[in-house]
């Protein structure tokens, strides 16, 4: 009897553990969905508004970006094997320049914002830690754009690791491109940093010219 009861208890405990695990995974997925919906909502109500100047838009996007994206992890992903070759000072400068390029990239996109909305269409776990959130950016009179967000649990919230637009990963594209720039400058990370500084100068000039 005792052994049977032990068995039942053990089975029940195992079942609860499995169910509990599933419930936890579900909760994580729900939280990831909520995180992306909130991120989109915040972007549209703070960064995409019309009555602010470029400097303010840059500032607001930077705040959102630094809070919501895992910049250090993305930097490692994007720089690949050159991350290890780079000196700590180069790594720090790379992250700074990368952030700057992202700010200038996205500030313009949000400035041109014209009523697009984001719908989360599916959420699935991606490995132990990450969650993929599939969304559609709906545009007026045009085909929607499929955007998948790869997010990772970080403390109480989440951080974005990568964005896939129509199946193309931004981190992967940047990595391929940045590798090419480093190779063109004889394998020197400094060559990439120089190209990034020039790009930032160019994008800043475009931003002030478009004012």
């Amino acid at each position: 009897m005792l052994s049977r009861r032990t068995l039942i208890v053990a089975v029940a405990a195992a079942a609860f553990a499995v169910l509990g695990g599933a419930a936890k995974a579900d909760a994580r997925q729900d939280a990831a969905r909520a995180f992306i919906e909130k991120l989109a909502d915040t972007a549209m109500t703070t960064v995409a508004v019309k009555d602010i100047d470029d400097a303010e838009r840059n500032r607001r996007f930077r705040t959102l970006f630094v809070e919501s994206f895992d910049l250090a992890e993305i930097g490692k992903l994007v720089l690949g094997r050159y991350w290890r070759i780079a000196t700590p000072a180069q790594q720090q400068e790379f992250l700074k320049l990368f952030e700057e390029i992202q700010v200038l990239t996205w500030a313009k996109r949000f400035k041109d914002y014209s009523g697009e909305t984001l719908d989360v269409v599916a959420v699935h776990p991606d490995g132990e830690l990450n969650v993929s959130v599939d969304s559609l950016i709906r545009r007026q009179k045009m085909d929607p754009i499929a955007v998948t967000w790869l997010v990772r649990k970080s403390g109480e919230g989440f951080r974005v690791l990568d964005i896939k637009v129509e199946g193309a990963s931004m981190a992967f594209t940047h990595r391929s491109e940045y590798t090419s720039v480093i190779q063109a400058s004889g394998g020197q990370v400094e060559g990439l940093l120089g190209a990034m500084r020039r790009k930032i100068g160019q994008m800043q000039a475009e931003q002030s010219a478009a004012r």
């Binding site: 690949g80 094997r81 390029i101 200038l104 990239t105 313009k108 996109r109 269409v121 599939d134 559609l136 009179k141 085909d143 929607p144 754009i145 499929a146 998948t148 637009v165 129509e166 199946g167 193309a168 990963s169 992967f172 594209t173 391929s176 491109e177 940045y178 590798t179 090419s180 720039v181 063109a184 990439l192 190209a195 990034m196 790009k199 994008m203 475009e206």
Partner: protein, 267 residues
């Protein structure tokens, strides 16, 4: 068959080969650098110097001719008109899409394509209105390059084709197959309506370029190395299309740096 002669493909291939010899190949990394070798294989662009030269050429043609044409088209024709053009062109491609659905062993998608074609050609006034999409059967793209991939043909090294833009040997073979096999073009060719083939090709090119005006400008604006960014995007997009990613299916490839549907233009 004056409009699409296989001989002109051979001629194009020959001249590209000659160009490749002139511009030369990229130097592979030393074999003992494992990571560099893996990267080299992943990027798979041994003809990079040649490809970059053709890319530059395409950029010049694009800035001088194709992009202004696409901008003019956008300015002159309202969205409604451009949608009719796109629906009509998509409908004309139905036989090719259907054939590739079948060849990829996708009976459900083949039936969808056939139903769309019948419905839109009839009720949609010769394909001008994509009523099937609104009725719940959206358009999906297929081509022979994707079919070859499904059959297990590897993509091979990255290639930039003159005017047509990013490709690889597999997708180039797919383009050539489509160009020779398209029943609509064959029919027009046999009935002496070659002007229709040229018109279709030209309009398809302008339509495609118009769709890529904003995305390509964005990639160019934000990239450090436009060539490398387009190369990576092309590969990733093609892989997604081959997998028939559901969400991706609705939108055509963000792949071509210049206009052009079938290869007629480069005759």
């Amino acid at each position: 068959m004056t409009a699409f002669h296989p001989r002109s493909v051979a001629r194009l291939a020959a001249s590209m080969f000659a160009l490749a010899l002139v511009a030369g190949c990229a130097t592979p990394p030393p074999a003992d650098d494992k990571e560099a070798v893996a990267e080299w294989e992943q990027i798979n662009d041994p003809l990079e110097p040649t490809n970059r030269a053709i890319f530059e050429f395409n950029q010049a043609v694009d800035k001088a001719i194709l992009k202004p044409l696409a901008q003019g088209y956008r300015a002159a024709v309202p969205q409604f008109g451009r949608d009719r053009v796109r629906d009509f062109l998509n409908n004309l491609r139905s036989p090719i899409v259907f054939a590739n659905d079948v060849l990829q062993g996708e009976p459900d998608r083949a039936v969808q394509t056939a139903m769309r074609f019948a419905f839109n050609t009839g009720f949609g006034i010769g394909g001008l209105f994509d009523l099937a999409s609104e009725g719940g059967i959206p358009f999906h793209e297929e081509d022979f390059g994707q079919t070859f991939a499904v059959w297990g043909v590897p993509d091979g090294p990255y290639l930039v084709l003159p005017i047509l833009g990013p490709s690889n040997p597999r997708d180039t073979a797919g383009l050539a197959t489509e160009w020779l096999a398209d029943p609509v073009n064959i029919w027009w060719d046999n009935t002496g309506a070659e002007w229709a083939i040229w018109t279709r090709t030209g309009v398809a090119g302008v339509d495609k370029r118009e769709r890529f005006l904003d995305p390509l400008d964005e990639v160019e604006r934000t990239s450090l190395d436009f060539y490398a960014a387009v190369r990576s995007l092309y590969k990733q997009r093609r892989e997604a299309e081959i997998r028939n990613d559901k969400v991706v299916d609705k939108v055509p490839a963000a792949s071509v740096s210049s206009a052009g549907e079938p290869a007629q233009e480069s005759n």
